[in-house]
Symmetry: C2
Subunit: 199 residues, 2 copies
Amino acid sequence: MARWEPGARERLIRSALELFQERGFAETTVPEIAARAGVTNRTFFRYFGDKREVLFGNEDQAAAKLRAALAKAPAGLGAADFLLWGLELYAREYLDGHRDEFRVLRRIVESDQSLMERSLSKRRAQCTILGDALRERGMRPARAQLLAEAAIGALSIAIGDWVQRDDETGIDTLTIEALTALRADLGGIAAARSPAARR
Amino acid sequence: MARWEPGARERLIRSALELFQERGFAETTVPEIAARAGVTNRTFFRYFGDKREVLFGNEDQAAAKLRAALAKAPAGLGAADFLLWGLELYAREYLDGHRDEFRVLRRIVESDQSLMERSLSKRRAQCTILGDALRERGMRPARAQLLAEAAIGALSIAIGDWVQRDDETGIDTLTIEALTALRADLGGIAAARSPAARR
């Protein structure tokens, strides 16, 4: 697509982020974003389905990277190791070096209900990628889904933690920390039937 | 609200489910639902914010029950036990005895993208209830959130399993099974940094 309008996609994303910060997401229109980026409305809609999508466009590219990373994982990794292999490559290619941008992005998304919904829907797509990859390696669908959701949940928490920090702790380390805490919290389950169930 | 139109709410839900099954969700209008239930459009909108909401209205009541159940949990339960206590009461009051209804509901929700999004949003509300309850008991927010998401994820898988079964296995048992499998799958994490990270 780049040959239509060199750099247009990146300019549109940058212009949208600026306007959303200056005026708020709801108060900004597509024509305003297009005007600031120096392109037509039609060009905007070549790249993005709607105003919300301009905030998530890079995620679709990232999802493809995630899928590709998982496909390259070595055989013989356990299920959790396998997912973490993919998430680490994903974090390295998609997030590293963009901390300031993600700080802004998170703040905008959290400011608007419709953006939160779109964000949940994108997150679900990521879960599907991980879950499919686990299923292809022979895991039962329901089990694959829950592990995939936990991994994406941990990644989301790790990113939230990461954007608030200024140190060099990596997203991969924070993701593993979150999952390790979850494992510990699930430790008591065998005894976890509530007294009411035993009556 | 019941004094406005005795039974109207339940009739609206039943009429909506019938029409969605007969014609599909997208093809059914609010006036049609209201007409079949024998009430006016205005009555419909007294009970439900939009057409999607009629499928989820009971969930809001259920969410209140979930919150109440957690508030009644005995002190001294571990984090996972505490959540399972709440989920078990929730399942007993909200799901037990309604298996056929939930079969239909799931099928309709899965047939429509906008319903899936609303469903994710309701699920997020449930996660917030569990996460808040854990935080009130002193757990760190990020950790509480991930455990809450895992518990709701397990509940969702348990319900999906339950609607496909015809035996007497309870949702609580299926939820615990799912979380136990998750814990096992997270077992390998300490070694889970991918080789790429160690280079």
